[in-house]
Subunit: 116 residues, 10 copies
C-alpha cells in the first residue's frame, strides 16, 4: 500500500505567514470490507492548517480513489489517510473525519487528529 503516497502531490503554501484552514470533503469514497469483500462507502472530510505545503486537489482525488479495491476496516483506513496526508504535506494541524454509510442498521464515524 505504500505506493499510494506517490499519488499525492503538493504545492507551496501561498500564505505561509498566516495560520489558515483548508477543508476538503469527498463524498464518493469507497473501499471493501476485509471480512465479506462487500463494498463500503464513506464521506471523507480533511481539515488542515498548511505549513510549507498545500495538498493538490486532483492528486487527492486519485489518492482517495486508490482505495476502491482495498479491503480495509473503518478504524484503519481513517488513521492511514491521516498518516499519509500528514507525512506528505507536514501540516501545522490536520483532522480526518470519515462518515461511513449504514451497515447492519448502524452508521459509523471515525475521526482522528494530527498535531505537530
Amino acid at each position: 500500500m505504500t505506493d499510494k503516497l506517490k499519488l499525492l502531490e503538493i504545492f507551496p503554501n501561498p500564505k505561509p505567514e498566516r495560520d489558515y484552514t483548508v477543508i476538503h470533503e469527498a463524498p464518493e469514497f469507497t473501499s471493501l470490507c476485509p471480512k465479506t469483500g462487500q463494498p463500503d462507502f464513506a464521506t471523507i472530510r480533511i481539515e488542515y492548517i498548511p505549513d510549507k505545503f498545500c495538498i493538490e486537489l486532483k492528486s487527492l482525488k486519485f489518492y482517495l480513489n486508490s482505495y476502491r479495491s482495498d479491503g480495509i476496516y473503518f478504524e484503519s483506513v481513517t488513521n492511514k489517510i491521516l498518516d499519509d496526508l500528514a507525512e506528505i504535506c507536514k501540516p501545522r494541524f490536520m483532522r480526518v473525519t470519515a462518515k461511513f454509510n449504514v451497515r447492519g442498521g448502524i452508521g459509523s464515524v471515525v475521526e482522528a487528529e494530527y498535531k505537530r
Copy 2:
C-alpha cells in the same frame, strides 16, 4: 440479563498510540415499556475513544437487538448499555445518547458518559 455481554466482540485497536474517536449510530433500537408492555423505539448513539480494543460492529448489532423483548425504562437502558460497552472494551472515554420516540406527546433523550 448478564448474557448480553457475551454477544459483544472486540478486536485490537489498530492505532492505540493515538487518541481518536469512533461513533456508531443505531436508529433501529426497540425494547418494551416495563409498565404497559408496549414497544419503545430509540436511536442509540455510541461515541468512544478506544484504548486497547474496538467494538466489533456486527456483534454490537446483535447486542442492541437483544433488548427487543426486554421491559426496561429509558433511564435504565441507557446507563446499562454504557456500563456493558465500557466493561467489554475499556475505552479511554465513552458517551451513550439514547433518543426515544414520542410517547404521550413527549420525546425523550438520555445521555450518559464514562471516563476512566
Copy 3:
C-alpha cells in the same frame, strides 16, 4: 396468524353519505426477516375511504404491533395488512404503502390497493 384479525376494532362511520379519506401513518412497524431472523423496520401508511365502518386507532396499533415476532417477507406483509384491514372494515377504497428501512444498502417500498 388468523388471530390478528381479532385485534382489530371498528366503529360506525359518522358520515357514510360522503366519500372522504382517512390516512393513518405508523412509523414504528417492525417484524423479522424469515431468512435470517433479524429485525426489519418499516413505516406503514394506510389510506382508505370508509363505507359503513372506520378502523379504531388504538386497535390498529395493537394489530400492527402483533407482527413484532413474526418472520414475514416485505411483499407478503404488505398484502396481508391490506387483506386484513379490508376484510374488517369493507372500505370503498384502500391503499397500503410499506416503506422498509435500508437492508444491504437498498431501501424498499411495497404498495397495494383494494377496490370494491
Copy 4:
C-alpha cells in the same frame, strides 16, 4: 354545538365573476379525545372557491378555537368543520384536511370535500 356557527362571519366576494381559490391553514387546532379526555392537536387546512361570500379570517380563528373543550373524534370533527363552513359561505367547492399529531405512535389525516 350549533352555537359554533354564530361565531363565523362572512363578507362579499370581491371578484365573484372569477373562479379562484382561497386556502387557510391553521396549525394550532386542539380538541379533546372523547374517550380519554386527553388533548388532541391538528393542523386544519381549508381550501375553497368562494361564490357570493368569503370567510372572515378572525371569525374563523374564533370558530376553530371553540373546539378547545369539546370531546370529538378525528373523523367527526373534520366532517363537521366542512359542514359548518359550507353552510355559512355556500362555496362553489370546499375541501377540509385535518392532519392530527401522532397518538400511540400513529399520525392521522382526514380529508373531506364539498361540491355544490
Copy 5:
C-alpha cells in the same frame, strides 16, 4: 389606484411562435390590513405564457412595491394584481398565487387564473 398600471413596463416577446412559461416569485411583498392598519406580508408568484409581450422585471418590482402603504384585503389584492398584469401584457395564460404570512395563527393562500 389606477396609477399603479403606469409603473409596469413590457418588452416584445423574443419567441412569440412558441408557448413557453415565465415565473416570477417575489417574497418581499407587503401591504396594510384595511381594518387594523397593521402590515401584511406575502410571497407573490406570477406564472404566465407570454403572447406579444413580456413583463419587464424591474418595473414589476416597482409595481409590487407600490402596495406598501395601501390598505387592501388578501382576496382583493391577489385579483387586482392578476387584472393589472393581464391588462398590461395580454398573456395567453396567467396565474397569480399570493401566500400570506400567519395572522392570528392562520396562514392564507389566494390563487387566481386568467385565460384568454
Copy 6:
C-alpha cells in the same frame, strides 16, 4: 395553582452514582393569554441531571396539560414550570426552555436554569 404539584410523580434514579442528563421535549403545550383569553402554544423542553429522583413521564404529561385553561404570561409560566419540577425532584441541575408560537408576527423563547 399549587395543586399542579400533586400531578407530578417521581421514581428513584436507577444510577444516582453517575451524573447523566435527561431531556423531555413536549411540543403540545398550550395555555391562555391572560390579557386576551386567546390560546398560546409552545414547545417545552426540560433538561436535567437527576439526583435521587427522576420525573415520571406520564405524570409530566398530565402536569403540562393542566395549564390548558390557565391565563399566564410566557415569562411566568416558564419560571413556574422550572420551580415546580425542581421542587418535586430536587435535581443536580435543570433547564427549562419554552418556545412559543408566533404572536403578532413575533416568536418568543424563554429559558431559565436551576442549580443546586
Copy 7:
C-alpha cells in the same frame, strides 16, 4: 426618531431573583434604503436577560413596525434598536441580531451586544 421610544412598554419582571433569558424573533421587519428609497427586509432577533422589567410583546411589534417608512442603514438600525430597547428596560444583558435579505446578490447580518 426619538418618538419611537414612546411606543415601547415594559412590565415588572416576574422572577427578578433569577438570571433567565428571553428571545423575541421578528421576521417581518422592513425599512427603506436611505440611498435608493427601496424597501429593505430583515429578521430581527432580540435576546436579553431581564433585570427589573420585561418588554411587552405587542408594544415591541408597534416599535419595530415604526421603521417602515424610515430610511436607515443596516449598521445604524441594528445599533439603534439595541440602544432603544436597552434604555427602556435596562436589562442585565442584551443582544440584537438583524439578518437582512439579499441585496445585489449579498445577504448581510449585523449583531451588537449591550452589557451593563
Copy 8:
C-alpha cells in the same frame, strides 16, 4: 457481461392475483467512466409490478455491485439494468431511474420503462 444475469435470483410472487408495486432504491451504485476510467456514482431506483416472480433483494445487491469495475456510459447502464431485470422476472411493468452524481458541474438522471 452476460454473466451478470446469473447473479439475479427470483422467488414466486406471493399475491399474483393483484397488481401491486415494489420499489427498490439503491444509493450505493458505482461503475467506471469508459473514457477516463474514473469512478461514477449513482442512486438506482427500480419500480415494478410483479407478475409470477419477485426479485430477491440480496441477489439484486450482488447484481448491482457487479458493475463496480465496468466501464459503461450513463445511458447504456440504465437501459441494460432495465433489460436484465425485466428478462429475469418478466414483470407487468418496470421503470429504472438512475440518478448520477455531479460530473463537470452537471448532475444527470436517466429513466427508462418496460411494458409488456
Copy 9:
C-alpha cells in the same frame, strides 16, 4: 453566437428502439445582464427523449460555459439553449428549464418545450 453550436458533440443513442428520458441539471450557469452588464446566475435543467443521438456531457458543459461573457435576457437565453440543443441532437422531445437567482428581490424561472 452561431459558433456556440460547434462546441456541442453528440454520440449514437445506445437504445434508439425505446423512448427513455435523460435529464442534465447544471447549477453553475452564468451570463451577463444586457442592460447593466452585471452577472446573472441560473440552474439550467435539460430533459429530453433521445432519438438517434445523445448529447455528450463534457461538450454540454463547454457549451453552457460559453455564455459567461454574453449579455442576454432570461427569456432569450432559455429559448436559445432549447433551439441549439434540439438542432444538434434532434430529440423526440426536449424541455429546458432555467431557474435564475433573485434580482431586485424577485426570482425567475423560464421553461420551454420542443416537440417534433
Copy 10:
C-alpha cells in the same frame, strides 16, 4: 490586480464606541481555475468588527465581481480577499470563509482570519 482595491468604498462606522459584528455572505462568486481555465464557483462569507470604517455593500459586490475573469487558486483568492478588505477598512477583526463548489467529486472550504 492591485486595481481591485480601487473598487472598494468605505463609510464611517456609525457606532465606533461599540464592538459589533457585520457579516456579508455572497453566494455568487466565480473565478477561473488557473490550470484549466474552467470556471470555479464559491460562496464568500466576510465577518468583521468595524473600527473607524464599514465596507460599502455595492462596492463590495463590484469588488467580488472583478474576479470573474481571473485565474486564481482557492487558497490564494481567499487570502487575497482578506488582505484587500482588511487593508481598506482596517477592522478590529476579520474572517473570510470561501466555500467552493464540488470539483472532481470534492468540495473545498478555505477560511482565514485577520487580527489587529
